[in-house]
Amino acid sequence: MALREPQPGTATEGRLIVRKLLLLLALLLLACDAELPPNTPAVRVDQVMGAEPDPGFTRALEARPFRFPQDYGAHPEYATEWWYLTGNLQTQKGHRFGYQFTLFRVALRPGEPLQDSAWRTRQIYMGHLAISDVAAARHYSAERLSRAAAGLAGARATPFEVWLGPWSMRADSGLFPMKVSAENGDIGLSLQLLAGNKPIVLQGDRGLSRKSATPGNASYYYSFTRLPTRGELHIGDRVYSVQGDSWLDREWSSSALDSDQAGWDWFALQLEDGRDLMYYQLRTRQGGMHAFSRGTLVEKDGSVRTLLPEQVKLTPLRHWQAEGNTRYPVSWRLQVPEQGLDLEVQALLDDQLMDHSVQYWEGAVEVSGSHRGRGYLELSGYAGSP
C-alpha cells in the first residue's frame, strides 16, 4: 500500500459528483451491449464521492439536531444519500448468509425540478442487493436504477418508505419494525428488522461525520448497530428461513472525500460480548492512513466511545485478487489496545465483490482473536488503482 503511486490527474479531473455518476449511467447502458469487457469498473468510488460539489447543494458544515421521523426520509438538498443495510443471517441448521441491501439517492442538480411533467426530476435512485451464501461459497449481487419520479422510486418519512421499483424498506410507524424486500431474478430477500436493545448512534460529532479538514467535506451519519432480523432469503428455487442481526447506516452529504483521499476500509462488527465496533480508515492517495479516520465503540448498554486513528492499529493480513488485477485486503488484524481488543477479521468468502456501476468489495466477515463476533467489511477505492 505504501508503494502506491499518486494518481496523476485524478484529483483535478472533472469534479462534479453528478457528472461522474452520469458517466456511470452511460457506461451502464453501454455495457448492456457487451461492449465493455466484464468486470471493468465503470467508475471509481473516489470519483463519485470525492468530486467538487455544486455550490447549489447544501453542505454538512456543522452538527445539527436530528429530527425524527423527518430524518428517516430523504434530504434532496444534499447531493448524495443512502440507506445502507448489512447483516449476518443463518438458518436453524446453521447455514450462514450475509446480505447487503442499499438504496442510494443521487441528485443530478441542486434545486427544484421543472414542473412540466410528473416524470421530471433531478433525483435518481440506485439500489444494490447482495447475498453471500457462505456454505455454497457463492456471492450474488444485483443493481437497479431509476428516476425518482412518477412513483417509480422515492423516499418518504411518514409512514417510512424508501423504494426503487419493487425494492423497498418500509415501516408502518417510526422506523421499526422495518419491512425490507428486494429481489432480482435468482435472488431475493424479505426480512423484518426489529429495533433491538441498542439505541441510535450518532456518528462523529453529534452526527456530523467529518471526512477531512476542509469544511463541508462531511456527512450527517447515524447508525443502528444491532437490529434483530428474521425472514426469508431465496436463491434460485430455494427459500431459506433465516434470522440474525442487521446494521443500518444512514448518511447524507454533498461532498465527503478530499482530493487526496482515495477510498476507505470500513468495519462494522458485532461482537459476542454485546459490543459493536464501527471503524473506517480513510486512505490517502499516497497509501497512508488519513488523520480523519474515525470509529465508535458501542457498549452493550448503548453508550458510545469515539475511536481516533492513534487508538487503533489496522494491519492487512491477506489480499484477494479480483479480475483486472485489483487487490482487496480481505483479512485484517484490528487492535484497540486501550479496549483490550485484538481482533482478526476474516472474509467469509474472498469474492464478495460488488462489480456494478461502482466497484467495491462489501462482504460478511467472521471475527476471532481476543473476542468473537460477526460483521461486515467494506473496501472502497481500490478499483482502477495500480
Binding site: L29, L30, G188
Partner: protein, 833 residues
C-alpha cells in the same frame, strides 16, 4: 481425355474477340438485365433497410409491447407493474410525429426513460455517452438528441436550437449532441427524455406503449398482471403492420425489373444464337476431326458461362451506379406514401448482389441452352446452306407459336381465373409475356404476308423478303423489342387507368367547397374545440361534415378509423361499390363504411359484421357499404361520429368540410379566412388537395417511368445487336449488291428500312400484348396486392406513342450498321472463302 479442350475454348473466345460487336452486345444484354434487377433490388432493400433500421432502433431488443388498442396507455399500468416483484424488463415509450419548423417531412419524437433502457436499446444509448449532456437531457425541458436524418438534413451541431411543431404548438429544443453516424440511415427520430416528450406531446399521465422483453414464464406473469383493456402484442405482430406497408410497392418494382431481365435474356439468346449459327461450318469441321456433340455443347456452355460472368460483373457495376439514383427515387416515393425514410448511402446488400450474380449467370445459361443444343447437333463437315438453316428455323415457327399460345393462356388462367396471391398474378403475367414473345415470329410472318401483297418498289420488296428470310434471327430481336414495348404499354395503360380512377374518385370525394384542418392535414393535428361553434354560426355555411381520425390495429395491419358526421353532399361523394338496401340509414345507426381494399382483404360484404378493438373491449359493427378508395391499401373505416365518440370521447376534430350556400363560396372563404386568421388553421379548397394528391401520385410512378425507359434501352440494344450481326453475316451479300451497282444511299435505305419494319412489326404485336398485360395488372395484380379495382381505360395516344418508340428504337439501331455496311469497300468481301 480432357473434360474440355482449352484450345477449343480459346478458338471460341477468339471468335468473340474478332466479332467484337457480337460479343459486346451479348455482354450488354446480360449486363443491362443484371443491372436493372440489381438496381431495383438495391433500391428496394435500401429503402427497406433504412426503414427497418429505424424501426429496429426504436424497437431495440423488445419482444413484446403493452398498449391499449387505439388509445394511450395510462402511466399507472406501467408504474404498478414496475413496482411488482418479478416484473420482467420493461421500458415506457412516448412518441408521435412532429414537424420541424423550416424543414420538410415528419419526424418521430420519441421519449425514453433512460433508466429503463439498458436492456432494450443499446444503440440509442450508445449516443448518450457524453456525460456532460445527460444531466441536461434529464433535467432540462428541451434536451434533444436528433437522429442521423435530422442531423444531416438540418446540418445540426451540438448547441443548435430546433423549433419543433406538434399540433400547432411550437417548442424549442436544444441539440445536446449531433448524430453524425454515417451508416445509420433512415433515422428520422428525435430523441428526448420521457418527461420532455410527455410535455411536448401533451401526454401527461399516459404512455404510447411499454416495451417488454419476455420469455414464456414472464409472458404468463405479464398476462396475469395487466388490467383489462391493455393488450400484449408481440413485436412481430407490431412490425408486420408497418413493414407490410410497402411490400406490394416493392413487388411491383421487382416485377418490373424482372421484366427487364427477361428482355435481357432475349438479347443473350439472340446474340448466342447468332454467334453459333455463324460458326456452324467451324463446328462442322470440328465434328469432322472427331469432336463429340457433348464436347461441343460443353464448350459452348463454358463460353456462355465466361460471357455470363463478365456480363454479370459489368452489370453489377452498372447496377450499383443505377441503384444509387433509383434508391433515392424509391426512398422519395416511400416517404410520400408511407413513412419518412432517408437513405444516406447505398447499402450494398450482399443478398442483392448474390441474387443478381446468380440470376445473371443462370439467365445467360438458360438463354444459351437451346442454341447450344442445336449447335452441338451440327453434323460433321456440314455444308448445309444458310437457306437450309433458315428453312429449318421456319419450320419451327408454328410449333413455337403453339407453345407460346399455350403459355399465354396458362398465364391468363393463372392470373385471372385461378385463386392465388399476387405472386401468382405476376407468374401469370410472365407466362403471358413469354408466350406472346414466342408467338411473335408467327405474327411477323403473318404480317409479312400481308405486306408482300402490297406492291412495293424492287429494293423495298427485297427488304421485306430479307426480313422473312432471316426470321430465325431477326425474330428474336423483334421479340425482345416486343417484350420491352409491351411492358411499356402494359404498365403505361395501368398507370393511366389508375390515374384516371384516382382523379375521378378524388373529384367526387372532395365535393365540399373548403376543407379546414389544423396545420395542413397532418396526423394528429386537431382543430380548436371552439372553432366548430364559430363556423356553425356563419351565415354563408350551408352544411358541415366533421371528421375525427385515428389508426386502429386490425388483423395485423393499421387501418384508419374515421368518425364522421357526413353532410348530405359529402355522402354523395362516396362511390359505393356495394351496399345494404338502406346503407346510409344503417350508417346513421352505427354501421360502418368499409374501403374496398379492407373489404377485399377481410372478405367482408355489406351486411357482414366486423369487430373493432376499443379501450372498452371489442365493438361489433355491421358493414353498411363498401366504397371505392385509393387512399390507403390497408383500409379505411367510416363510422358515425356519435358512435365513435362513445368509444373515443377525447378525440378532437381533425378536419371539417364546408359547403357554402348557393353562390356564396367566395364570401364563405372570406369569412373563414378572417376567423382563421388568429388561429393556425389551414383552409384548403378541394382543388388544391386534388392537385397535391395527383402530384404525389405522379411522383410515385416516376420510378416506373425510369424502369420503362431502361427496358426500352435494353430492347434498343437488342435490335442493334441483331442488325449488327446480320450485317456481319450478310457482308458478302451487300458487297454483291454494291458490285451490282446499288448506291450507298440505297444500301443505307435498305438496312434502315428493314430495321424500321422490325420496329413496326414489334410494335404491332406489342400493342395487343401490352393491353393484355395491363388487363392482368389491373384485374389481378392491383387487386391482389392492394385490394382495389379500377375501370380499365386504354389511351390511344399511349399506343401511338409505343408505335413511335418502337420505330424510333429500330431506326436509331439501324444507323450505325447501315453506315458501316455502306462505307465498307466491297472488294475484299467478294473474294472471301
Amino acid at each position: 481425355m480432357n473434360l474440355f479442350s482449352p484450345l477449343l475454348l480459346r478458338a471460341g473466345l477468339r471468335y468473340l474477340m474478332h466479332h467484337r460487336w457480337q460479343g459486346l452486345l451479348a455482354l450488354s444484354g446480360i449486363a443491362l438485365g443484371v443491372a436493372v434487377v440489381l438496381a431495383v433490388d438495391l433500391a428496394n432493400s435500401g429503402a427497406r433497410a433504412a426503414f427497418e433500421l429505424s424501426v429496429q432502433q426504436l424497437q431495440g431488443k423488445a419482444t413484446h409491447r403493452l398498449a391499449v388498442p387505439g388509445d394511450l396507455l395510462p402511466d399507472e399500468v406501467y408504474i404498478n407493474l414496475k413496482r411488482q416483484p418479478g416484473a420482467p424488463p420493461m421500458a415506457p415509450v412516448v412518441s408521435d410525429w412532429v414537424r420541424i419548423k423550416g424543414a420538410p417531412g415528419r419526424y418521430q419524437l420519441v421519449g425514453f426513460d433512460l433508466f429503463a433502457e439498458a436492456p432494450f436499446r443499446g444503440q440509442i444509448a450508445e449516443r448518450l455517452t457524453a456525460p456532460a449532456f445527460i444531466s441536461d437531457w434529464l433535467t432540462d425541458a428541451g434536451g434533444l438528441l436528433p437522429g442521423a436524418a435530422a442531423t444531416r438534413a438540418l446540418r445540426l451541431v451540438a448547441g443548435d436550437r430546433l423549433d419543433i411543431v406538434y399540433r400547432d404548438q411550437p417548442t424549442t429544443l436544444q441539440v445536446l449532441q449531433a448524430n453524425t453516424q454515417q451508416d445509420s440511415s433512415g433515422d428520422n427520430v428525435l430523441l428526448v427524455d420521457i418527461a420532455t416528450a410527455k410535455t411536448i406531446l401533451d401526454m401527461q399521465g399516459q404512455l404510447s406503449y411499454v416495451d417488454l422483453i419476455l420469455d414464456p414464464d414472464s409472458e404468463h406473469w405479464i398476462r396475469q398482471h395487466i388490467p383489462p383493456g391493455v393488450e400484449l402484442q408481440t413485436v412481430a405482430e407490431q412490425a408486420q403492420g408497418v413493414t407490410r406497408l410497402s411490400a406490394a410497392f416493392e413487388l411491383n418494382l421487382t416485377a418490373m425489373s424482372l421484366l427487364a431481365m427477361l428482355v435481357g435474356m432475349f438479347l443473350v439468346f439472340n446474340a448466342m444464337t447468332f454467334s453459333l449459327v455463324q460458326r456452324r461450318s467451324l463446328f462442322g469441321r470440328l465434328r469432322a476431326i472427331g469432336v463429340t456433340p457433348r464436347e461441343l455443347f460443353t464448350l459452348i456452355l463454358l463460353e456462355a458461362v465466361m460471357m455470363a460472368m463478365l456480363g454479370t460483373l459489368l452489370g453489377m457495376l452498372i447496377g450499383v451506379w443505377l441503384g444509387k439514383g433509383l434508391t433515392r427515387l424509391v426512398a422519395a416515393t416511400v416517404s410520400d406514401l408511407y413513412y419518412t425514410v432517408s437513405v444516406s448511402a447505398l447499402q450494398l446488400d450482399g443478398t442483392s448482389l448474390m441474387f443478381a450474380a446468380v440470376l445473371g449467370v443462370l439467365a445467360t445459361l438458360l438463354a444459351t441452352l437451346v442454341p447450344a443444343w442445336q449447335a452441338a447437333r451440327t453434323p460433321p463437315l456440314t455444308t448445309l446452306s444458310r437457306t437450309a438453316l433458315e428453312q429449318a428455323a421456319r419450320r419451327g415457327i408454328p410449333l413455337w407459336a403453339v407453345f407460346g399460345l399455350l403459355l399465354l393462356l396458362a398465364g391468363l388462367l393463372l392470373a385471372l381465373v385461378l385463386p392465388g396471391g399476387v405472386i401468382m398474378s405476376f407468374a401469370g403475367l410472365f407466362s403471358l409475356v413469354l408466350g406472346a414473345a414466342m408467338m411473335t415470329p408467327l405474327m411477323i410472318r403473318l404480317l409479312h404476308r400481308l405486306l408482300t401483297t402490297v406492291a412495293l418498289p424492287g429494293i423495298w420488296r427485297m427488304g421485306v423478303r430479307d426480313l422473312d428470310r432471316h426470321l430465325s434471327r431477326l425474330g428474336i430481336a423483334v421479340a425482345a423489342l416486343m417484350v420491352a414495348l409491351s411492358a411499356s404499354v402494359g404498365v403505361g395503360v395501368m398507370v393511366e387507368s389508375m390515374r384516371g380512377s384516382v382523379h375521378t374518385w378524388l373529384t367526387e370525394l372532395l365535393c365540399a367547397d373548403l376543407y379546414v384542418a389544423a396545420q395542413g392535414f397532418d396526423e394528429g393535428a386537431r382543430l380548436p374545440e371552439t372553432f366548430l361553434q364559430e363556423v356553425s354560426g356563419l351565415e354563408t355555411v350551408a352544411a358541415i361534415s366533421r371528421y375525427r381520425e385515428r389508426t386502429l390495429p386490425l388483423h395485423g395491419r393499421h387501418v384508419e378509423l374515421i368518425g364522421a358526421h357526413l353532410a348530405a353532399p359529402s355522402r354523395r361523394g362516396f362511390a359505393l361499390l356495394s351496399s345494404t338496401a338502406s346503407a346510409w340509414q344503417d350508417f346513421d345507426n352505427g354501421a360502418v363504411l368499409l374501403s374496398e381494399p379492407l373489404a377485399y382483404r377481410l372478405g367482408l360484404v355489406p351486411g357482414a359484421s366486423l369487430q373493432l378493438p376499443t379501450a372498452e373491449g371489442p365493438l361489433n359493427v355491421q358493414v353498411a357499404a363498401v366504397f371505392r378508395d385509393y387512399a390507403s391499401e390497408h383500409g379505411r373505416i367510416f363510422l358515425d361520429e356519435t358512435v365513435y365518440r362513445r368509444y373515443w370521447p377525447d378525440q378532437g376534430l381533425n378536419t371539417l368540410a364546408l359547403f357554402a350556400r348557393n353562390g356564396e363560396v367566395a364570401s364563405m372563404r372570406r369569412e373563414l379566412g378572417e376567423l382563421a386568421a388568429h388561429t393556425a388553421l389551414v383552409l384548403t379548397p378541394a382543388a388544391a388537395i386534388l392537385e397535391e394528391s395527383m402530384a404525389v401520385f405522379d411522383r410515385t410512378f416516376r420510378v416506373t417511368e425510369v424502369l420503362r425507359a431502361v427496358s426500352l434501352v435494353v430492347a434498343f440494344i437488342g435490335v442493334l445487336s441483331a442488325l449488327m450481326a446480320l450485317q456481319l453475316e450478310r457482308g458478302k451479300e451487300y458487297a454483291v449488291l454494291r458490285a451490282l451497282g446499288l448506291t450507298r444511299v440505297q444500301l443505307v435505305g435498305l438496312i434502315s428500312g428493314e430495321s424500321l419494319l422490325m420496329g413496326l412489326l414489334a410494335a404491332c404485336v406489342a400493342i395487343p400484348t401490352g393491353v393484355l398485360m395491363a388487363w392482368v395488372l389491373i384485374q389481378s395484380v392491383q387487386q391482389r396486392a392492394f385490394g382495389w379495382t379500377m375501370p380499365f381505360s386504354v389511351d390511344t395516344g399511349l399506343l401511338l406513342q409505343t408505335l413511335l418508340v418502337g420505330l424510333l428504337a429500330a431506326g436509331l439501331a439501324a444507323i450505325y450498321p447501315a453506315w458501316r455496311s455502306a462505307s465498307r469497300n466491297p472488294a475484299p468481301q467478294l473474294r472471301e472463302d
